[in-house]
């Protein structure tokens, strides 16, 4: 009973913190734009730091600090910037100096503003519309950002991990080394996700995607919990890409039955059929959309709450702050470990469910 109460209290606390952080975050960014950097107070700085952490960046920064002289120092590695602006332009992100200077490439000037590359004049002027959005032209941006680097790292890691595992099967019944740990997970995905949802006959062609998406999301979520400061799955672009693949796989492997159920639902009155068709069609888009939002939101919320709790340490300024912050952050980090796996599981599970719907065979109904 005590345990349940504790969990209740903790979750209530987390919920309030999430909502308040979200609420305050929005307000603060608006407020901040009117103040000069020197006037920032501590709370605003923490919020900004969190907001910054959640974003992608053009260099790989482990930590940064401000010297007594007010100079920003960064411990970081620059990454290549690739933009298409009347021709492919590749240059190092060190040219931006973390957004502090204007980069000049082939006679064009670019500036980082709120983590986006804008085309500017030589002075780096950025003009705004009445809603305070920059109106400068944005070049097509295919840069190898921090997140892309980590996607590559995870991809390479997975490739070596699983090809090694595959090799260790040669002449053996059991895999060696890490494969011993990974095999039950693979079997779980096959036996408890793919087969029950898709069916014994057709599950095979989806296994590659399901396994890859599960391990990719899981590993990259776990990497997000390391102090490296990466945060790949809280980019809507990443989750959109994953959800789109699920959507296209569902759509292109769907059988006649699936389309029939969408456009001409059997066994209902004609009027209902006409009403149902657009709803069902919309449903096919909403499903992957929900997949995208779910993964994005869970990971983002986890990161915001975790960092806010760590930020409490600086806000409280009393002896109680640090232990409280540490305890909460520790508990939450454990929860996030669970969430990392759970979100990977749910993404895989729901993808399998949608595939199952697409290839389901039923004669009556």
């Amino acid at each position: 009973m005590h345990r349940i109460n504790l969990v209740k209290i903790l979750s209530l606390l987390l919920l309030t913190v999430t909502i308040s952080v979200n609420a305050q975050h929005d307000a603060s960014t608006k407020a901040h734009e009117e103040t000069t950097p020197q006037e920032k107070d501590l709370k605003t700085e923490i919020k900004e730091y969190i907001a910054h952490h959640l974003l992608d960046s053009y260099d790989f920064t482990l930590f940064s600090w401000t010297t007594d002289a007010g100079e920003h120092k960064y411990f970081s590695a620059p990454l290549p910037v690739i933009i298409y602006d009347g021709g492919l332009k590749i240059f190092s992100s060190s040219k931006f100096h973390h957004g502090e200077t204007v980069a000049e490439v082939d006679g064009n000037y670019y500036k980082l503003y709120h983590n986006k590359i804008y085309k500017t004049d030589a002075e780096g002027t950025i003009s705004y519309d009445e809603e305070h959005h920059p109106t400068n032209a944005k070049p097509l941006d295919f840069s190898i950002t921090k997140n892309v680097v980590f996607i590559i790292i995870v991809a390479v890691l997975m490739f070596f991990m699983f090809t090694r595992m595959a090799k260790s099967y040669k002449g053996n019944l059991m895999p060696k080394g890490m494969g011993r740990m990974l095999e039950p997970i693979i079997l779980y995905i096959r036996d408890d996700i793919a087969i029950p949802n898709i069916g014994e006959k057709k599950y095979k062609k989806y296994m590659g995607y399901l396994l890859t998406v599960f391990f990719f999301v899981w590993i990259i979520n776990l990497l997000g919990l390391t102090p490296l400061g990466v945060n790949v799955t809280n980019n809507i672009a990443v989750t959109l890409a994953l959800a789109l693949i699920t959507y296209f796989l569902t759509t292109f492997t769907a059988n006649k039955n699936y389309w029939k159920h969408i456009f001409w639902m059997p066994d209902v009155p004609v009027l209902m059929k006409i009403i149902l068709a657009p709803i069902e069609l919309l449903g096919t888009f909403i499903k992957p959309f929900a997949l995208m939002i779910r993964l994005y939101a869970n990971i983002t919320a986890g990161h915001i709450v975790l960092m806010s709790i760590i930020g409490l340490m600086f806000v409280f300024k009393s002896w109680i702050g640090s232990p409280l912050s540490f305890g909460l952050a520790f508990a939450l980090a454990l929860l996030e470990l669970l969430v990392a796996a759970l979100q990977a599981y749910i993404f895989t599970m729901l993808s399998a469910l949608y595939f199952g719907m697409a290839v389901e065979e039923h004669d009556d109904h």
């Binding site: 919920l15 979200n22 029950p196 929900a290 939002i293 939101a297 749910i346 729901l350």
Partner: protein, 63 residues
């Protein structure tokens, strides 16, 4: 005016929380009644919870 957005989002989050709580509770009941079907019940529970959670998050981000 902006404050109302968050009140609405909060309401939806409360609703979603209650919904997920009900799902979890019912799943527990079901498992207690049929422990041998716990795997299937857990899967169904997670899917339902995930769907409600999706609505909750959609509301949060719409706010």
């Amino acid at each position: 005016m902006t404050g109302l957005n968050f009140v609405g989002a909060g309401l939806i989050v409360i609703g979603a929380g209650l919904g997920i709580g009900r799902i979890g509770g019912s799943a527990m009941d079901a498992i207690a009644r049929q422990p041998e079907a716990s795997g299937k019940i857990q899967t169904a529970m997670l899917i339902a919870a995930a769907l409600i959670e999706g609505i909750g998050f959609a509301a949060l981000f719409a706010a």
